[in-house]
């Protein structure tokens, strides 16, 4: 043969400059540099594209990842360590005949582990007959003693299983680790697929890549079928530790994909030994919990008491058989690599078969013989914790100093059962896109299996993870990347038909109360930021001395308004002008630049972001970007020069108003008009109504008589000057201003508008009152609205003998009370079960 490149005319495969590293198995190329058989289609396709077109496609892929909001939280830090999901565009390719072997082996391993799990939490025959060292169970912190006896009723406690595989230089596959608690990755695998099918569409179709969706349908059906009592419409929930968890994106993605509510521990409650979801319409029974929470956190009463992430009483409900959990709580006991050394024997014992998938050579140090071997061969091995624990990582003696190694040996000798040693696998390499073309990186493959009836079904593909540099550790926590994984269909294979799915009744208002609560407060804080910005922006010109809108912003008027709004002490308007100016300057600067000042803009923004963070999966990526923009706008330091500060502030606030409008717009345009939207908008309206009531009191009731500038300022703060001028070509009159800001239900800033919207929202909430009767919150909303509708502005603006506006003052005070009561009533009716749990123990 003359040619050593893919036989394609005009191939630009050379542009990719891919060169594997000698001594490793490369997944793409033979040692000769010629593509492996199953890689040829891909090499040809890439050759046709050339590196430039490929890079363009990849840009599209990255945009998709951004747009879908695919993220991975490194260390679960809320402050922004959340990174876009690192994906590499070139798929990991596995030919079908090889895949069938992997598939069979993974099924067998899942079956074996399932049997072991059943035994460990019931008879413990394996321990008593000494086929498994007792220490792997008794010294294992993941052996949950309170789960003892729980799995007896279930034939398949291991519903979801994942195994990490790697290929050695001789081409064989090895198992590196088993994941049996709440394996993560299938959501990311599906996302990777959506992206890779978009960036390499032609080759994807030509190669007939096996679809992933059937596995997801099967898993969904399996979850529904787990419901302990056969109800027509079982309720499944996905239990997440919350937005701070590193794989939270996946939790929300899967919940959305399957149509199951995503819940946190506080969304669930246990009554009469059943688990219920707290929703706006009351408590709804839960039949199946797909948990993405570690065993120890599931129930603070019986498991780890220092964590309140879980559901107190959950264990008792499981014991009662009223709820099923995937995976069975306690399944983490199987994750110890210490078990690996014993699997071949156990497989013969329990299944009567040879173990198909060898584990990487593993020595558990809890036995004297392996321990001696490990101490004699330290430098060839990686030392791992036998029992996974946060903060513990593999150690590589070959690269350690003498002292560090001695210290490791000392630790190993004092508690040998806590350590395992494994042979270092020279993992195979794959091509990874870099700015210089393709480079070789180590890769590992996570394969997923799900229990489907009596059998396990394996996801055709999986999550391929690649090391960041030529590093021997592949871990998403340590900054590795990922790839889509393609398994080719057999030529003869018939396309996979979608399977019938169990229907779930849709359309129930199962909005968790916690979500409603966060939306409500997001609305309130957003409005507080908005009104704060508008207020400061309207008042700033008073400091400049320019009178660019009449006398409205005269220092005195502004100071009086702020005193009326309780931002400034009552006595400030009586101070000499110089001192008034000083107070005003200090206040306005603080409101903008001091994030620790309660009721300041920065403080409210922080609260707004906190509420938003708890709603992460419900907010679009755009909304999230807007929030980030707001935060970076408002965290700029104040300019040192006071003159510059003023202009800077005005420019800044103008920008912030626009960004806030973008937030409001995104919410209006993108949120479905369900109860969620309703609660967000109730929060906004309630807050805006309260702000307006205060403004009217300070700007009309408490302002000196005949003060036009106060009215003008009022209109400006309420963003209604233009409307007023277009309607009334007259001088400013307090009755007309009041009409516009209080009664006019077409003015989006008026009290009347807020109240009529509030009333509509409240009427649309799920009914709790007896049929035909108004609920308390309905009555309050109606009362407030009616008092405004019945108001006569000319009566309200007529001053009595002492020059007071008592009827208006009473009306505004009454409205304030009603609005507070409404807020209380809504909380009591819909959000009240949101109390924090505490653990107590006593002798």
């Amino acid at each position: 043969m003359k040619k050593s490149k893919p036989a394609v005319g005009r191939s630009r495969w050379d542009e990719f400059r891919y060169a594997p590293i000698p001594g490793h198995w490369d997944e793409a190329l033979l040692p000769s540099g010629f593509p492996r058989r199953h890689w040829r289609g891909l090499a040809v396709a890439l050759g046709r594209m050339g590196i430039r077109q490929f890079s363009r496609s990849w840009n599209l892929g990255q945009q998709l990842i951004q747009a879908n909001g695919v993220t991975y939280n490194v260390g679960g830090d809320p402050a922004g360590k959340e990174r876009p999901w690192p994906m590499d565009p070139i798929p990991f390719v596995i030919p079908n005949e090889e895949w069938s072997g992997i598939e069979r082996a993974v099924k067998q391993r899942a079956e074996l582990l399932n049997l072991m799990l059943g035994d460990l939490y019931s008879e413990q025959r394996l321990v008593r007959e000494r086929r498994l060292p007792a220490a792997l169970v008794y010294a294992n912190p993941h052996f949950q003693r309170s789960c003892y006896g729980l799995t007896l009723g279930s034939s398949s406690p291991l519903q979801t299983y994942a195994v990490d595989l790697a290929r050695s230089p001789d081409g064989r596959w090895w198992a590196l680790g088993d994941r049996t608690q709440a394996p993560s990755g299938i959501g990311y695998a599906l996302e990777n697929r959506l992206v890779s099918a978009r960036i390499l569409p032609n080759v994807f179709n030509q190669c007939r890549v096996r679809a992933l969706t059937r596995f997801f349908d099967a898993k969904r059906n399996a979850l529904l079928a787990m419901a302990p009592t056969r109800r027509d419409s079982p309720r499944v929930v996905l239990l997440t530790p919350g937005p701070h968890n590193e794989t939270y994106f996946e939790h929300s993605f899967l919940a959305g994909h399957w149509g199951f509510p995503l819940v946190e521990g506080a969304d669930l409650t246990v009554r009469d030994s059943r688990v219920y979801l707290k929703t706006l319409s009351g408590l709804e029974p839960v039949d199946v919990i797909l948990r993405r929470m570690d065993d120890a956190f599931c129930d603070p009463l019986e498991l780890r008491g220092d964590s309140l992430l879980g559901v107190p009483g959950l264990m008792q409900s499981v014991r009662n058989g009223s709820v099923a959990v995937d995976n069975a709580i306690g399944s983490g006991v199987l994750e110890t690599p210490g078990l690996m050394a014993f699997l071949p024997g156990l497989c013969r014992d329990l299944l009567g078969e040879e173990l198909l998938l060898p584990s990487v050579a593993t020595w558990w140090c809890g036995q004297p013989e392996p321990m001696r071997y490990v101490l004699a061969h330290m430098d060839e091995l990686v030392i791992k914790p036998a029992f996974r624990k946060y903060g513990l990582h593999p150690e590589f003696p070959a690269r350690m100093s003498k002292a560090a190694k001695a210290e490791l040996v000392r630790r190993m000798q004092s508690q040998p059962e806590l350590y395992v040693a494994q042979e270092l696998v020279n993992m195979s390499t794959v091509p990874v896109r870099t700015d210089q073309g393709l480079a070789a990186r180590h890769a590992g493959l996570r394969v997923f299996a799900a229990c489907d009836g009596g059998d396990y079904t394996v996801l055709p593909g999986g999550l391929t993870r690649v090391a960041g540099e030529m590093s021997p550790v592949v871990s998403m926590q340590l900054g590795a990347g990922s790839k889509d994984t393609w398994v080719f269909e057999e030529e003869s294979e018939s396309p996979e038909l979608p399977r019938p799915t169990i229907n779930v009744r849709a359309g129930r208002s199962s909005l968790p109360s916690r979500v409603a609560d966060n939306l409500f407060w997001l609305g309130r804080y957003a409005e507080r930021v908005d009104s704060g910005v508008r207020l400061v922006r309207s008042l700033l010109p008073a400091l400049s001395g320019e009178e660019d809108f009449g006398r409205a912003a005269s220092l005195e008027t502004v100071v009086r308004l702020l005193a009326g709004l309780r931002y400034l002490p009552e006595n400030v308007p009586d101070l000499p002008l110089g001192q008034q100016r000083f107070h005003l300057q200090k206040l306005l600067s603080e409101l903008v630049y001091n994030p620790t000042r309660m009721s300041g803009i920065g403080w409210n923004l922080k609260q707004m972001r906190r509420s938003a963070w708890n709603l992460k999966e419900r907010l679009s990526a755009d909304t999230w970007r807007v929030l980030q923009q707001l935060e970076s706008d408002l965290s700029r330091p104040a300019p040192g020069n006071p003159d510059q500060r003023l202009t800077a502030q005005i420019t800044l606030l103008d920008g912030v108003i626009v960004t806030l409008a973008a937030f409001g717009g995104l919410v209006m345009e993108n949120m479905t008009r369900g109860h969620g939207f309703r609660f967000l908008d109730i929060g906004r309206r309630l807050e805006r109504a309260l702000q307006m009531a205060d403004l009217l009191r300070a700007g009309i009731v408490e302002a000196p008589t005949g003060n036009d500038s106060a009215l003008q300022l009022l209109l400006h703060v309420a963003d209604s000057s233009i409307t007023y001028r277009s309607r009334h070509l007259t001088m400013l009159r307090s009755d007309l201003v009041l009409d516009l800001l209080l009664c006019d239900e077409t003015n989006p800033r008026s009290l009347g508008m807020q109240l009529s919207t509030l009333r509509e929202h409240v009427d649309g909430l799920p009914e709790h009152a007896e049929a035909g009767r108004h609920s308390l919150e309905q009555r309050l909303a109606l009362k407030a609205l009616t008092s405004v509708r019945l108001a006569e502005v000319d009566v309200l603006t007529r001053r009595d003998k002492e020059g007071k506006l008592s009827p208006l003052s009473d009306l505004l005070a009454g409205l304030r009370t009603d609005l507070f009561d409404l807020s209380q009533a809504l909380t009591a009716q819909y959000l009240s079960h949101l109390q924090t749990a505490r653990l107590r123990s006593s002798d």
Binding site: V127, R128, R130, A134, A135, Y138, A139, P141, R145, S146, Y148, T269, V270, R271, D272, S273, P300, L301, E302, G305, L308, P312, G313, Q316, R319, S414, Q415, E417, H833, Q835, T836, A837, R838, L839, R840, S841, S842, D843
Partner: protein, 286 residues
């Protein structure tokens, strides 16, 4: 000796508690040396979903919930228990290293079962410091029982009994450094020291007979049981430097305090709280 024991725990909350789920380990455990004649547990407010089960260690657990809002919570457990004197017959003279090796190999079923108690547990983490603390009592070749008695005696002498000086959250290392604590701490230190030598030790929860001039009467008490191959579990009370016998009523045992907490619950709401515990253990003439 036959006793009537009563144990009352009262919580008074700052704010109302909306609901709670609870777990009690207040039923005295029947075993060779102790038989339980009668147990009665009373809870206010009205408990719901009352259930009992055996936990992994064989202790009886009572679980229940309270759904009505309350600011007071009271549990009273009353029982009639007969306790026999500890059998202090001829004790095995094996050396402590032999016991350690028997446990390491799990040579027979009792040793295999006991081996569960040689490892760290949530409240008792083994450490080189604890091993060093144990060492003076465990000279090479010393008979196990003698070494155990010596260690119990040393904990009694070298630690100061200081009520309210510790909370259960204090790490064992701190207790070892400060050399003071209550019966839980005394027990955890001795258990940790034994486990750091890879000997099996468990935590026993129970009561002392009222009126005795011992620390820990009138409240719930704790002591240590150590595994002696050939003889089973021998009990030691390092808080009082005595071998528990007719004067100790056993509630149950586990790896440490966390496994046998007498009254435990998760509440919704409640704020801060006051806790009162009262224990009476009176002999009755039968």
């Amino acid at each position: 000796m036959v006793y009537r024991a009563s144990h009352t725990t009262r919580h008074i909350y700052e704010e109302s508690v909306a609901q709670s789920v609870n777990e009690l380990r207040l039923t005295p455990r029947g075993f060779g040396q102790q038989s339980v004649r009668e147990v009665h547990i009373e809870v206010t407010p009205e408990p719901a979903l009352w259930r009992t089960r055996k936990d992994w260690f064989g202790n009886e657990v009572t679980t229940f919930s309270i759904f009505e809002p309350h600011d007071r919570f009271t549990v009273t457990a009353s029982s009639v228990v007969e306790v026999l004197p500890a059998n202090m017959g001829v004790l095995p003279t094996l050396r402590w290293e032999e016991a350690r090796d028997i446990l390491a190999e799990g040579i027979d079923d009792p040793a295999l079962e006991a081996s569960e108690f040689i490892y760290s547990s949530p409240f008792v983490a083994t450490s080189p410091e604890l091993a060093a603390y144990a060492k003076p009592s465990f000279a090479e070749g010393r008979p196990l029982v003698e070494a155990l008695e010596d260690l119990s005696h040393r904990v009694y002498k070298e630690f100061r009994y200081a009520p309210k000086s510790t909370s259960i959250d204090m790490p064992l290392g701190e207790v070892l450094k400060n050399r003071k604590g209550v019966c839980q701490d005394f027990s955890h230190v001795m258990i940790g020291a034994l486990r750091s030598l890879r000997l099996a030790a468990r935590y026993v929860s129970g009561y002392l007979r009222s009126g005795a001039k011992y620390q820990g009467a009138e409240a719930s008490h704790a002591w240590v049981a150590a595994f002696v191959p050939g003889a089973g579990w021998l009990h030691f009370d390092p808080t009082n430097d005595i071998i528990p016998s007719e004067g100790h009523v056993t509630l149950g045992w586990g790896r440490d305090y966390g496994d046998v907490t007498p009254v435990k619950g998760v509440t919704l709401g409640g704020g801060s709280q006051l806790v009162e515990v009262a224990v009476r253990v009176e002999p009755i003439t039968s």
